[in-house]
């Protein structure tokens, strides 16, 4: 177990370093001229050269990378020229709301999808299973912003139950004071995630239900409830844990698309605006944090799997 953990951590660190290098090089390809972007198209060559020198963009790329890495490890994400503010401050301001939206959607999706998938597998080919499978299949093929737009059209424009305009308050507490208007963004993200998870949970539950140990559990006289909670749930949930780790990029993309659709002033919208402005430090910090979150997500999923599955724990 200790060897497995050590190997897993080491790989994660190596991948994180690689991700830093790739994002850095990639951004240099995509935004080769930070001085020009910051000062505008009509800036003089002398001014651009001075800006690049001041900000270190004139040095060799390997030197820039090492400097960047040093700053990044110490938690300094650089300066946003557009906001004239440090990226750290910007992220600190906007993270709580985005994290809340994503976190609560993820939580709801797990809480709904796992029982739903297991229920569908147990009562397979019943009315509810057929309905849920169909809905999940359609939703699985629908982009999250389309779900959001349709919900917005129905519940905000037509029925008027909620406002289409989500609170523009950046703070989590401020946005929560209009909690009703946050329901649609949360619902859209949750619905699409549930579609993905429940399909998976259903098929893994079907696999487990066909196993001999389920037959043994029934044969020794366990009640159906105990068969499901003790034997089915514990085994069928394992593939879903791995899936959760793989879904981090989905939630990062979903966060961007949902914040753009509802005009929520969070990290996703910040990224889209930074892209238009070529705000270099915001783009690279966001990409890197997204990538590191993905690595951490996979790591946590693997550790959770090891905790839940004795076969991995002992091996």
């Amino acid at each position: 177990m200790a060897g497995y953990l050590a190997r897993r951590f080491l790989t994660a660190i190596v991948v994180c370093l690689g991700v830093t290098l790739v994002s850095f090089v990639m951004l240099h390809i995509a935004a080769p001229n930070p001085g020009q972007a910051a000062l505008g198209a009509r800036a003089s060559q002398a001014a651009i050269a001075a800006y690049d020198k001041q900000n270190g963009y004139d040095r060799p790329i390997p030197v820039q990378f090492v400097t960047y890495l040093n700053h990044f490890i110490h938690g300094q994400l650089g300066w946003s020229y557009k906001f004239n503010q440090s990226v750290n401050a910007l992220f600190a301001e906007k993270t709580p709301l985005s994290a809340f939206l994503t976190g609560i959607s993820l939580l709801l999706a797990v809480v709904i999808a796992i029982p739903l998938g297991i229920y569908q597998a147990v009562k397979r080919n019943g009315m509810l299973d057929a309905a849920a499978t169909t809905v999940a299949f359609v939703l699985y093929s629908t982009p999250v912003y389309l779900v959001a737009l349709i919900l917005q059209h129905i519940f905000a424009d037509q029925l008027g139950w909620v406002s289409a305009n989500v609170s523009q308050d950046q703070s989590l507490a401020g946005a929560l004071s209009d909690f009703k208007d946050l329901l649609l963004p949360i619902l859209s993200l949750t619905a699409v995630a549930v579609a993905g998870f429940s399909r998976y949970q259903r098929s893994s539950s079907l696999d487990v239900l066909a196993q001999d140990y389920i037959r043994v559990a029934r044969a020794k006289g366990l009640s159906e409830r105990l068969v499901y909670t003790r034997h089915l749930l514990r085994n069928a949930i394992l593939p879903t844990i791995t899936l959760l780790g793989l879904y981090v990029p989905f939630f990062i993309a979903g966060n961007i698309l949902i914040e753009y659709t509802f005009n929520i002033d969070g990290l996703g919208l910040l990224f889209i605006n930074a892209l238009t402005d070529e705000d270099y430090n915001i783009l690279i910090s966001y990409t890197l944090i997204g990538a590191i979150l993905t690595v951490i997500g996979n790591l946590i999923a693997d550790l959770a799997l090891a905790a839940a599955d004795p076969r991995i724990r002992i091996a």
């Binding site: 790989t11 190596v14 991948v15 994180c16 690689g18 991700v19 790739v22 994002s23 990639m26 951004l27 390809i29 995509a30 935004a31 299949f137 359609v138 699985y140 093929s141 629908t142 982009p143 912003y145 389309l146 737009l149 349709i150 917005q152 059209h153 424009d157 289409a164 981090v248 990029p249 990062i252 993309a253 961007i256 698309l257 753009y260 990224f271 889209i272 892209l275 783009l283 966001y286 990409t287 997204g290 990538a291 590191i292 993905t294 690595v295 996979n298």
Partner: protein, 306 residues
């Protein structure tokens, strides 16, 4: 499989075979195809796909629509005579835009998936065959690229270099080859120790022969299944780029772009600017998912029956 049967055939032509008649055995590919076509959902997906190909490529030959000049007289017209599905806010015809956007989606999806499939197959096959530290290094590189959030990366690169159809396809393909690479490597690792490959090796098969005749054809099934999903993902990513305003540029148009335009007027009740294109996008993605699921079952069954 047929090759094996042939070599085991009766020693004298015309002599009765021992242990029953020698009948022709369908190849694995044919069995898979039969399995695929007996799957109703998969066939439905194929029908939808064929419909979209006809709609997008033959449609514009029959139905000529204005997609280039702004016409203020017909701005936001509802469905009716002259415009069966109405007009957008710049007077462009919705039905015609659907056809044009569908072409772009299909082309970019297919091209991106081909790039991803070729890159991934090559990478995975080389890593699996060479093994050792080269394999470890190559797979860590896959891990690194896999950790980069797909949409963010595609947005950043596409923002600068994604103005044309070919560029966008290349960008989407270059960040989609990781799935195929992992699958092919896994297949190669299990296949190279299988009996039929060992048999081919002891019979003196060259490395080249082993790769082209035995390893790649047997790994191809999983790759094709994965490619189908890569097409769907690429079309989805393209739509997301268009929706966020970073898709193909005028005079080209894509479905995400149209959804984004349409939402400006959805509150005014101009439903025809969002719902037709939404239905097209979802149907096309569904068709690829149905075909992919069907192909996966077909490939799986082939393996199980062996």
């Amino acid at each position: 499989m047929t090759a094996v049967i042939d070599s085991l055939g009766p020693a004298e032509p015309g002599a009765p075979a021992e242990g029953g008649d020698v009948t022709e055995v369908a190849s694995g590919w044919r069995l898979g195809l039969r399995e695929f076509f007996s799957n109703k959902l998969a066939v439905a997906g194929l029908v939808i796909l064929v419909f979209f190909v006809i709609f997008c490529y033959l449609g514009p030959m029959v139905y000529h629509a204005n997609l280039v000049t702004v016409n203020l007289d017909v701005v936001n017209d509802p469905p009716g005579a002259g415009a069966p599905l109405g007009n957008y806010s710049d007077g462009f015809d919705v039905l015609g835009s659907l056809m044009a956007g569908g072409q772009i989606s299909l082309e970019i999806g297919l091209l991106a998936a081909l790039v991803a499939g070729a890159l991934g197959t090559l990478w995975g096959a080389v890593a699996g065959l060479i093994g050792g530290w080269v394999d470890s290094l190559m797979m860590r590189i896959v891990d690194v690229f896999l950790a980069l959030p797909f949409l963010l990366v595609v947005l950043i690169i596409g923002h600068r270099y994604g103005a044309t159809v070919v560029n966008l396809s290349l960008i989407l393909g270059i960040f989609s080859w990781l799935g195929p690479a992992r699958l092919v490597r896994g297949e190669v690792l299990t296949l190279r120790v299988r009996d039929f490959v060992s048999a081919a090796r002891v019979m003196g098969g060259s490395r080249r022969h082993l790769i082209y005749r035995h390893l790649l054809p047997n790994a191809m099934g999983t790759v094709i299944v994965n490619i189908t999903f890569v097409i769907a993902d690429s079309i989805l990513a393209l739509a997301a780029l268009g929706y966020l305003g970073f898709g193909v540029k005028y005079p080209n148009t894509d479905w995400g772009d149209q959804i984004s335009d349409g939402t400006n007027y959805l509150q005014d009740g101009y439903w025809w600017q969002v719902y037709p294109v939404a239905v097209c996008l979802v149907l096309l993605i569904m068709s690829f998912n149905m075909i992919g699921d069907g192909l996966r079952d077909a490939v799986d069954v082939r393996l199980r029956k062996r």
